[in-house]
């Protein structure tokens, strides 16, 4: 009998960088509509291990988000009262 080894299933969805896949998608601090996809509801930047962005685009993205925060186009945090 073959011993079946049960491995815990690892989520292995193929992650692709959305900015590499779609060259028409630009990273711009003046465009909070696009940037909003890459922050959590609370306004935190989603890490690239989750979003699947490549290092280069993640770098540009986080810079853009920080600029957008500075000029009040995006929140630093959302204060939610529970």
């Amino acid at each position: 009998m073959v011993v079946r080894r049960r491995r815990r299933r690892v989520f292995h969805r193929r992650k692709i960088c959305r900015f590499c896949a779609d060259s028409s998608l630009k990273i711009d601090y003046k465009d909070p509509k696009t940037l909003r996809y890459f922050v959590t509801e609370r306004g935190k930047i989603i890490p690239r291990r989750i979003s699947g962005n490549c290092a280069r685009h993640q770098r540009q993205l986080s810079l853009a988000i920080k600029r957008a925060r500075h000029i009040a186009l995006m929140p630093y945090t959302t204060t939610t009262t529970f």
Partner: protein, 161 residues
């Protein structure tokens, strides 16, 4: 020259007249510092992502310009001390932006130019060339200002939202 953009937030409680004064002031600072205004784009009143100096809204303006590198210091220094400016951010768009790029951009914006033949200027001395170009672009930026003032008053009712 370098090309920059400065996005800034004006106190939304200013009157149309007040907004016009702000526009004049900062446009003049750029012109006085040997810069050129490429665009003064008023986004209008927007909700801020977080309150700034107790304001929930802000009047956003995107100023696109070119000039020597110290122009940013001068502009930001003036914005810092101006009570009417809530926030600003400046980003460099291009390291090298010359008269030629500027003329190209102006030409693209206003295609219906009265027969202005492209001058063959390379033979002229650099000085004379620059002087002439500066005059021209200053004139055109003045007409731009006028046009913007018109739209401003035309759009005024939309601010009541």
């Amino acid at each position: 020259m370098r090309r920059y953009e400065t996005l800034f937030i004006i106190d939304p409680e200013l009157t149309d007249e007040g907004l016009k004064d702000v526009a004049e002031k900062f446009k003049n600072i750029i012109l006085a510092d040997k810069g050129h205004i490429i665009k003064y784009d008023e986004w209008g009143k927007r909700k801020l992502a977080y309150p700034v100096r107790k304001r929930e809204y802000g009047f956003y303006v995107l100023l696109d310009y070119c000039g020597p590198s110290d122009i940013v210091n001068e502009l930001e220094r003036n914005m810092r001390i101006d009570e009417r400016i809530l926030k600003y951010i400046t980003v460099k768009l291009s390291d090298s932006f010359d008269q030629e790029d500027l003329e190209k951009m102006k030409a693209a914006e206003a295609p219906e130019q009265k027969e202005a033949p492209p001058e063959e200027v390379p033979e002229k001395t650099g000085e004379a060339f620059v002087e002439e170009e500066t005059k021209e672009s200053e004139e055109s930026s003045e007409t731009e200002e006028e046009a913007e003032v018109d739209t401003e008053s035309g759009e005024a009712p939309s601010k009541k939202e």
